[in-house]
Amino acid sequence: MKNKLIIGLVLFLSMFWIAGFSIFSFLPKDNSFHVFYPILKMSYGRVCHQHLDKSFFVNGSYFLVCSRCTGIYIGSFIGLVTLLLPVKKYISSIFYYFVFFLVILMVDVVTNNFIFASYNKTTAFFTGYLFSFFAVYFIIFELKRNNFFHTSQREI
């Protein structure tokens, strides 16, 4: 039960983070939340290059992070959601999935930045998505294997 509470909390933070970079695409034009645009742009700029030609353009506004980062954050969010679902999820070779998609991500970064002149937003999104999806699974399974949730339950 405690592990679901911790995952739920991280899920909430993840949702908050995703809302932060995408909210300006879904707000009405006269919403006063737009005054936070410069602050949020600067905050997300700390962890993303924010090139407009590499970002998704939705409802007349660009996301504040590139398509790869969008994929990474949404992938981790979906990963956390599926972890909360009441189905058996143990995948014995999760480490190999994680490494495989990490390699795919790195290959895509290299090819998109150094080999091909044009940047493919779709491949960037999906490589980021798959990497972070399995990264979340890998981390949670390792934490479970190391009795992290069990220990914290006892301490509390």
Partner: protein, 168 residues
């Protein structure tokens, strides 16, 4: 313990240096700081001679120190560069931000926001330093870098515990 923290500080410094190089940031993106934390955990394991597995507490602590180190060093670099050149991203992008904010009907709150941004921009152009901007920059760097450092710590812990401390 001091010796065990040095990898985190060095890797944080490395991440701060790399994050100031535009081309590297374009490639590394949001994975730069977690990668630096994974590297610092590897060096931590080398220092401790791979004697024991990494606990969650240690991983998060090393991630936090790497993030803080990166935040402070990159903040320092940004302040120095801004002081030398009397310009930065805020000054350069202010006209576009003003145009964008004017397209929304934000009323007085919009005007006040633009006025604050203009004041910061004028201070930077005139003196090469703005206390408001620097305070926000440091707060932002510390918050974001600590968070990504901790995430990197958890990734690193999972990788190294699986690789070096799992009985087959």
């Amino acid at each position: 313990m001091k010796n065990k923290l040095s990898p985190a500080i060095v890797c944080g410094f490395g991440a701060a240096v790399l994050s100031t190089i535009p081309g590297v940031k374009s490639v590394g993106c949001c994975l730069l700081l977690p990668a630096a934390t994974v590297l610092s955990l590897y060096f931590y394991l080398r220092i401790t001679s791979f004697s024991q597995s990494i606990s969650v507490k240690t991983a998060m602590f090393i991630g936090l120190i790497t993030g803080l180190s990166s935040a402070l060093f990159s903040g320092f670099f940004e302040v120095i560069i801004t002081y030398i050149f009397h310009t930065n991203d805020l000054v350069l992008t202010l006209p576009q931000v003003e145009i964008l904010l004017n397209t929304y009907n934000l009323g007085d709150i919009g005007k006040e926001t633009v006025a604050i941004l203009r004041t910061m921009s004028k201070e930077i152009t005139a003196y090469g330093f703005s206390l408001t901007y620097t305070s926000f920059l440091l707060f932002n760097n510390i918050f974001i870098d600590s968070m990504f450092g901790i995430i990197g710590g958890l990734i690193g812990m999972s990788i190294f515990n699986k690789k070096y401390f799992t009985k087959l």
